[in-house]
Symmetry: C2
Subunit: 259 residues, 2 copies
């Protein structure tokens, strides 16, 4: 099958920032997955306000479980369409399942027996990644094209900003002493995650790369792109926990293709 594999279609979010292509932590999970398995694909870049209409037009179903606040179906990225099987899949973890099942002779993303542990890993990360939110909402706006930026600013008013009782993304961006406190929380969150691992292990599963590394890698890629590789902030993140986060992105560099 490998010889004749037609390229998959992979939907991702574009960037206006010079030198930055893929930047979204969730689509990076799938991008890493595809690159690691060595599966050919072509990226279709979609602006946020066009996601639902683009996927609908391509006959792709909404996310199987994620819903809008009003309970209606929601279209999210990443999505892949596999012309070799006629299948489309939403959600990075479900895409990993699909790729392992359909292409079991290529490197495995979720080693046998670890599916539920991977789910728990994703759940356990959430509170540790949460402190970045107040920073990243604004930094992402610097990456988005104007139509996506407007769309995201409106969407945040109806979820995170409503929850925080704030008017704008700028209002919640930590400033002055608060910025130091919030940055420290971010560092503490990453320290919690680092503690799960042996400091000598390069990957979550030790010497074996797995989808869990692509979840961490996606989050780190997003930060690297948001802050900029030469920024004080990224250098800080990359240095935390004995430099393990910078080293992880280096170790994953050969799966970095993002065109």
């Amino acid at each position: 099958m490998a010889e004749t594999l037609k390229p998959l279609v992979f939907y991702d979010f574009p960037s206006k920032k010079p030198g930055v292509n893929a930047w979204n932590p969730n689509t990076w999970k799938t991008r890493y997955s595809l690159n690691y398995k060595g599966i050919p694909y072509k990226t279709i870049w979609v602006e946020y306000p066009d996601v639902a209409s683009t996927l609908k037009a391509a006959g792709i179903a909404p996310h199987p479980t994620t819903r809008k606040p009003d309970g209606s179906p929601m279209y999210t990225l990443p999505v892949i369409v596999d012309p070799n099987t006629g299948t489309s899949v939403s959600d990075s973890l479900l895409i990993a399942d699909y790729l392992d099942k359909t292409y079991p002779d290529k490197p495995i993303l979720i080693p046998a027996g670890t599916r539920a542990l991977h789910e728990a890993f994703l759940d356990a990360l959430t509170p540790n990644f949460y402190p970045t939110m107040r920073f990243s909402m604004l930094k992402i706006c610097e990456i988005l094209n104007p139509r996506s930026e407007a769309y995201i600013r409106e969407a945040r008013k109806n979820d995170v900003l409503k929850m925080l009782n704030a008017a704008s993304i700028e209002d919640v961006y930590p400033k002055g002493d608060e910025a130091e406190v919030e940055w420290k929380k971010f560092e503490e969150g990453m320290k919690n995650v680092a503690k799960w691992m042996d400091s000598n292990d390069r990957f979550v599963m030790g010497d074996t790369i797995s989808f869990a590394d692509f979840v961490l890698g996606g989050f780190l890629q997003a930060n690297k792109k948001m802050w900029g590789e030469q920024s004080k902030e990224w250098k800080d993140i990359a240095s935390w926990d004995g430099g393990r986060w910078g080293r992880l992105l280096e170790d994953l560099q050969k799966y970095d293709r993002d065109d």
Copy 2:
């Protein structure tokens, strides 16, 4: 070595409740671990106010990381002492590590590569188990001998009750409509955990038993002992998620020794 293995010493908390021996969710993790590996051991039952003095007298170190609110060292159970190697270990996960490393020819608790995923699994469980706290604080008092009960009631005043701004364990025990709401939260928490797994899988890692099952099993055992096997509450828990929690304890029954 198996032929000449001297029994390990295993420290656990006693019960005054008729028909209940081991009941603590944390010591059950180790009890299951020892039973699963088939390692001989003898239980020493210790009342809460005697834990520190008993372990100190036996030359055992406090927990390596857990601290009292004032920052001083803390003695916790489970603890094992292995006379075959002269080693003592606190903390159920570290005991699992020790047992796998020292007795690698016996069934493995933490399969290769899954150590960090197990840590994440433990972290991910915490918020899902949290809704039981307001129930279990009182139900545990029905199991404890009077000296332990007095000790635990005093300890809770300085942590959970202070946090909840409440005077007594009785005050926070959910009553009437609130009991229904809180019980529902418990059910929702267990549903979150069940969602990580394939409904056909008996164990967290599928067909393979691992330490993760003993963490769930310990929590379920504690509930079964607190509520009583014939109680409405235990029957309810055992029935949730297609009966998977009752079935798990049945599947683990051969590792149930608790003398």
